[in-house]
């Protein structure tokens, strides 16, 4: 006893259409949102940069060894369960290389404490937090996002402090296929350049640096040619490094720390003069939502301490002036 199929499909189509129309125009009656501060959609699965390690749930605190968990992911933030002495640190992706050392030294300085890093582009972390992800500490690579979160009341007052800084540097594949010897060569026709997207902190930093270089040294034509040579705007800083490491682009703009932390011989680098460079200041802050604020503060203290700062320096970050 089948219903006539013709009617069934027409009804489905009409219902779907009406649903969409009513929803679209129901927005008319609600207060129009301009740039909503809290997006309803959370980040969807993104292209994974080289194999992200799966994120195990944090284990119970042990006093002897410090289990270290590192994750580089752009998937929606995993939910961390609260446990005393545990610190969940949402951290800009450029700290990926130094994070194991930081975790080890933190556990040494504060026995019984443990840090779990959620490493991702600052823009992705900001979106996650604004959608309700749990974090104790937020390390941001972008002043803009830090301000946004501060204005949104996400930080505990007085805990937002400058942490470290990073300059932009140009890296080339070790073999330097396009034979780039100087920043001027970046404008050569046919050179392939990878950059971070403007939504990624390193992207805005790079654009600023390029602008400065054009103004001071190389001129507008150089600027135009360099921008023409850009073949991809990567959605994360490690993404830029990967494209360079694979040799698929001739040059990429990343943070100095990425270059310093990389194994010898992976890249050749060209420095950008400090006067033209964009100094990215990282901030650290304790989250208001944190349920282990003392542990979070301890972590912040550690990061600002001589040991924490030395770790960062070892991996190519610069101390805050």
């Amino acid at each position: 006893m089948k219903r006539p199929l013709k009617n069934q499909n027409i009804i489905i189509g009409i219902v779907c259409g009406l649903l969409m129309l009513t929803a679209l125009f129901a927005g008319c009656t609600s207060s129009p949102a301009t740039q909503p501060v809290t997006p309803a959609v959370s980040t969807t699965a993104a292209p994974a940069t080289p194999a992200p390690t799966p994120l195990p749930t944090p284990q119970a605190v042990s006093t002897t060894k410090a289990p270290v968990v590192i994750a580089t992911t752009s998937t929606p933030a995993p939910v961390y369960t609260y446990s005393e002495g545990n610190v969940v640190a949402f951290t800009a992706a450029s700290l990926k290389g130094v994070s194991p050392k930081l975790a080890a030294d933190f556990a040494k300085m504060y026995p019984g404490h443990k840090v779990v890093f959620n490493l991702d582009g600052t823009q992705a972390l900001r979106t996650q937090v604004m959608n309700g992800a749990y974090a104790d500490v937020f390390i941001s690579a972008s002043n803009a996002y830090t301000t946004e979160l501060t204005n949104g009341g996400y930080f505990v007052d007085g805990t937002v402090k400058p942490l470290t800084s990073n300059y932009v540097i140009v890296i080339l594949p070790a073999k330097n296929p396009a034979n780039i010897q100087s920043l001027a060569d970046l404008a050569k026709p046919g050179v392939k350049i990878a950059l971070g997207d403007k939504s990624v902190p390193v992207g805005t930093a790079t654009i600023a640096a390029i602008g400065n270089l054009a103004k001071s040294t190389y001129g507008q034509n150089w600027n135009t040619s360099v921008m023409k040579n850009i073949v991809t705007y990567e959605t994360s800083e490690p993404g830029v490094a990967t494209k360079v490491a694979l040799g698929e682009v001739d040059a990429g703009f990343v943070y100095e720390s990425t270059y310093t932390a990389s194994p010898k011989g992976t890249y050749t680098a060209i420095t950008i003069p400090k006067v033209d460079n964009y100094l990215q200041t990282y901030t650290i802050g304790v989250m208001k939502q944190s349920t282990s604020k003392s542990a979070a503060s301890n972590f912040e203290n550690f990061m600002l301490s001589t040991i924490g700062q030395q770790d960062l320096k070892d991996y190519g970050f610069r101390p805050v002036s």
């Binding site: 969807t44 997207d197 991809t232």
Partner: protein
């Protein structure tokens, strides 16, 4: 007779009905609400005004253009391939069968990396291409290649299934009447499987349109060249939220249109069989 068994039967039936209704409603709402929420998140003014945003326009055109080309290639190459594959037993047929399904289970990012490692200018094959000045990575061609890779199984599996299930008597009759294999394929096999093939094509188009994972890895992200709609959504959500939302809604509308088209075609095929 005893009235209570009849009464409790009625209660049972009512409970079953309610349970079924709740089941259907919850599944429907679970699937529909997130999509509907997209529409609620914006206003028609914002939506229509951001339609003129150059990023939106270029992503829309790029996506439609590349998906159409990808679909064309898959149909033109895939249809005869599926036919030859089905009608002949050749050594390694089982392996080819498995390979056809491979892109379905491979994570798209892995597919993208694989394509890059093969066709990139440092790639196993790509390095020879770059000797001739041909470079594929970071071009629109790379987008098309990525889309073809991930979307072709949808069409190939459908075509295979259709050709395998087509009653052999039609082709056999045609053979006894003296028709060449090409004539049989074009005049007998294709018309009799056309409806199903179109369904497969529509699904393939949808998959190519929504491809996101292989594309950024292999083709990169450059507005107007390689920034497809799904990629623009991702970038937009981090940066320009309105743009991301608008493109999401566009994708939903197109996906709905695709789904309804497939259903109508499937019904037509069933009634013709």
């Amino acid at each position: 007779m005893n009235p209570s068994p009849v009464f409790s039967e009625k209660i049972q039936r009512t409970i079953t009905c309610i349970g079924a209704a709740v089941l259907v409603a919850s599944v429907t709402l679970y699937l529909a609400f997130p999509v509907v929420a997209l529409f609620f998140r914006t206003t028609p003014e914002l939506f229509f005004s951001s339609l003129s945003n150059p990023d939106v326009i270029s992503a829309l055109f790029l996506s439609l253009f590349t998906s159409t080309i990808s679909l064309g290639v898959v149909i033109l190459v895939g249809t005869p391939f599926a036919y030859v594959h089905c009608r002949n037993d050749y050594p390694g047929k089982v392996i080819v069968d498995t390979l056809i399904d491979l892109p379905l289970v491979l994570p798209p990012a892995v597919a993208g990396l694989a394509l890059l490692v093969l066709w990139g200018r440092m790639g196993i094959l790509g390095q020879y291409l770059s000797l001739f000045g041909i470079s594929i990575a970071f071009t629109t061609l790379a987008v098309i290649m990525a889309q073809i890779f991930v979307a072709s199984p949808f069409y190939l599996r459908q075509a295979k299934s259709l050709f395998e299930q087509l009653d052999p008597v039609y082709e056999q009759t045609a053979r006894t009447l003296g028709a060449s294999p090409l004539r049989i394929f074009a005049l007998i096999t294709l018309p009799l499987t056309a409806n199903g093939l179109v369904s497969g094509a529509v699904m393939t188009f949808g998959r190519a349109l929504g491809e996101f994972g292989a594309t950024p890895m292999f083709a990169g992200n450059l507005p107007g060249v390689t920034q497809t709609m799904p990629l623009a959504v991702y970038v937009g959500m981090e940066g320009n939220f309105t743009v991301g939302l608008t493109i999401s809604i566009l994708l939903v509308i197109i996906s709905f249109a695709i789904m309804i088209a497939v259903r109508l075609l499937a019904r037509r095929e069933a009634s013709n069989a």
